[in-house]
């Protein structure tokens, strides 16, 4: 997405939330489209999984779309991200093609990882997504390493490291944030706090109230943001990016959000109440909230929304079709990609 669009909305109204001052109507509609695309993609993947077309496991980020899209909104295509086991949203937000994502989930050679990685390793290196990661907090040091490259090679890139609240108790989090800070690296740490690491609530796992409170231990700003509010997320991201680009070092953003689905496909949902889930779904849905704002501000109307939904529906259908029809890996290629082939 563009770093700074023409702020058409802002020309009329200056008291508006950040996103409406910062982005053009087209950009905002594109953001809505991406949020829908993420949700429908995951619903499609879930459906395919239920029907046995996709195997393994998967972690859905339904309910967290504003966080992924908001954070990526101010990123340039050159900027990079590292993602997590719950990484479909990040991947789409960073510009991936759902065709190749579905193809990956179907284990096909046309997938982003040629069928070797699956959901937990979905990546789109060309668009700057260095990959989801099956290891909680595993991507955090890698993001810092990418930021070290950006600094040393003077590419101007900023790297965003996504991780969950559960990850903040891993040693890798601690070590990586400390080093990013002492070396003033251009990296933004984004903790998507959905309240639970699998079944363990943040209250039971973490000795501080807010993950952002830990930023002080690394001498960096810690920012808490409503992760279901697209504009708020984008604003925090923009500020952290700007700081990183000025060479002032990292920021820790805590994006408070919620996942609607179970942790993965094996979750009996015993650790939280139906009421809690209902409440988030009914009153704080990130897409509904964003859509309502867009309508209220006259940026989109019902027909426009329908058009977005329809376009997304079509993209999903085509994506699944593409995946189904793509070829399976050749068994003769079993040993490929382990080492770099001689040029």
């Amino acid at each position: 997405m563009a770093t700074a669009g023409k702020a058409v909305v802002a020309q009329q109204q200056t008291n508006l939330p950040f996103a409406y001052r910062q982005y053009s109507a087209a950009e905002l509609k594109e953001a809505l489209r991406k949020m829908y695309l993420i949700r429908r993609f995951e619903e499609g993947a879930e459906d395919a999984y239920m029907r046995g077309l996709i195997h393994g496991t998967m972690h859905l980020s339904i309910g967290q779309e504003a966080s992924a899209v908001g954070i990526c909104m101010p990123l340039s295509e050159d900027d990079q991200i590292t993602s997590t086991h719950r990484g479909h949203g990040h991947c789409i937000a960073k510009g991936a093609d759902v065709k190749r994502m579905f193809a990956e989930f179907f284990g096909k050679t046309t997938g982003y990882c040629k069928g070797r990685g699956g959901s937990m390793h979905i990546a789109d290196v060309a668009k700057g997504n260095l990959g989801a990661n099956g290891i909680v907090a595993g991507g955090i040091p890698i993001a810092v390493g990418a930021a070290l490259s950006a600094k040393k090679l003077r590419t101007g890139k900023v790297v965003v490291s996504f991780f969950g609240d559960g990850a903040n108790n891993e040693g890798a989090f601690h070590e990586a944030l400390n080093m990013a800070s002492i070396w003033s690296l251009p990296v933004v740490f984004v903790c998507e706090n959905n309240g639970y690491g699998m079944s363990t609530s943040i209250e039971r796992s973490t000795a501080v109230r807010s993950v952002a409170d830990r930023a002080a231990a690394y001498g960096m700003p810690g920012v808490v943001v409503d992760g279901n509010n697209f504009s708020a997320v984008a604003e925090a991201s923009q500020a952290a990016l700007a700081r990183a680009r000025r060479g002032e070092g990292p920021t820790l953003i805590e994006s408070k959000t919620y996942r609607y689905r179970g942790h993965s496909k094996s979750d009996r949902n015993r650790y939280r109440t139906k009421e809690e889930i209902e409440d988030w779904m009914t009153n704080r849905d990130p897409i509904a909230l964003f859509e309502a704002e867009l309508v209220e501000l006259g940026i989109i109307d019902q027909a426009g929304i329908e058009a977005v939904r329809e376009a997304v529906r079509k993209e999903i259908v085509e994506g699944i079709e593409f995946a189904k029809e793509s070829p399976m890996p050749d068994m003769a290629d079993r040993e490929r990609y382990v080492y770099t082939e001689a040029a």
């Binding site: 393994g56 099956g134 015993r270 382990v338």
Partner: protein, 332 residues
């Protein structure tokens, strides 16, 4: 159902062992990620938290190194922790505590402490969880003096070896193949132990010894049944313990059959089969060998996501059949 032939799944057998130990001894407790109300990623702890409470079925934060270290410290000071890694792959984060601390503490301190910790490692491929959730790393720990490393292959052994592990004064590492969790088999009620350090001859035979580990024991038995029809009489040895290895049982079997095939899921190079083979090749059984020592291990690649590729990455029954025929037929 008659209690003596009662069937339990492998996961239930482990759960029962833990429950029995916790009932019998207050010092026994469980630590791990999501082992409480979630019941464990593979439902091995199941509802134990309801029976024993959250103080004895302790959910930890996602902190493998610290968690393992806490278990080590607790074991040094009077408790009997059973620590679950959610996937054995995550033990890569805790190798420091396992290898530098748990394994060596007694030795470094000249025998002044023991470290009676049990650690459980759900391992192996076959679940479509790809490269970071499917490894078999038992060979690493088998290389480490001070540890005991076991790989029960049946529900019966899972319960009996876990109870032996809990009673053991030293650190015992249990590798549990995830695809075995649902496998059922006879499991006696009550307390019994299966000794650590003893292999088990699962099937007697005259023509070829197959030493197999964990899930491969079952594939080897399946292959052996098929080979019987071809007139090849296979002896299947379930290794059960990686460290200390039961050399005597393997050597005796090879002396009888004169042929050896090692079958294991881990990456072939430097996997358990390397040690079994080398142990035989340096032993008195060498003179009895009528054929090269065969090895079937995992491919030299990470575990892929695609299910067909995934299957092709670890030994399957047809691979065992082919390897066995090769060893037996190629020779007099």
């Amino acid at each position: 159902m008659d209690a003596s032939v009662r069937e339990l799944s492998y996961a239930q057998a482990i759960q029962e062992a833990m429950a029995l130990a916790m009932e019998a001894d207050e010092r026994v407790f469980l630590m791990g990620e999501d082992i409480g109300v979630y019941g464990g990623a593979f439902q091995v702890t199941g509802d134990l938290v309801e029976r024993f409470g959250p103080d004895r079925v302790m959910d930890t934060p996602i902190s493998e190194l610290g968690g393992a270290g806490i278990a080590v410290g607790a074991a040094m000071t009077g408790l009997l922790p059973i620590f679950e890694f959610q996937f054995s792959d995550f033990a890569t984060l805790a190798m420091e505590q396992i290898v530098n601390q748990a394994a060596k503490m007694r030795y470094m301190l000249g025998g002044e402490v023991s470290v009676p910790v049990v650690m459980r490692f759900p391992a192996g491929s076959g679940t479509g969880a790809a490269a970071q959730h499917s490894q078999s790393l038992e060979a690493w720990l088998g290389h480490v003096p001070g540890l005991k490393v076991i790989q029960p292959a049946t529900p019966y052994d899972a319960k009996g070896m876990l109870l032996a592990a809990i009673a053991d004064p030293d650190p015992v590492m249990i590798f549990e193949h995830k695809l075995l969790y649902k496998m059922k088999g006879p499991v006696p009620e009550g307390h019994y132990t299966v000794p650590i350090g003893k292999a088990e001859v699962r099937r007697e035979g005259r023509d070829l010894t197959i030493v197999a580990t964990s899930i491969m024991v079952h594939k080897a038995l399946e292959a052996a049944a098929a080979l019987q029809g071809e007139g090849i009489d296979v002896e299947v040895v379930d290794l059960r313990t990686v460290r200390p290895m039961d050399k005597a049982t393997i050597i005796a079997s090879v002396k009888k059959t004169s042929r050896l095939l090692c079958v294991y899921e881990a990456v072939k190079t430097l996997g358990i089969g390397a040690e079994v083979s080398a142990m035989v090749a340096e032993s008195e059984a060498f003179d009895y060998l009528d054929a090269p020592i065969g090895r079937l291990g995992g491919a030299e690649t990470p575990i892929p996501y695609n299910p067909e590729l995934e299957k092709a990455t670890v030994p399957q029954v047809p691979d065992i059949l082919a390897a066995a025929r090769d060893l037996v037929k190629g020779r007099s």
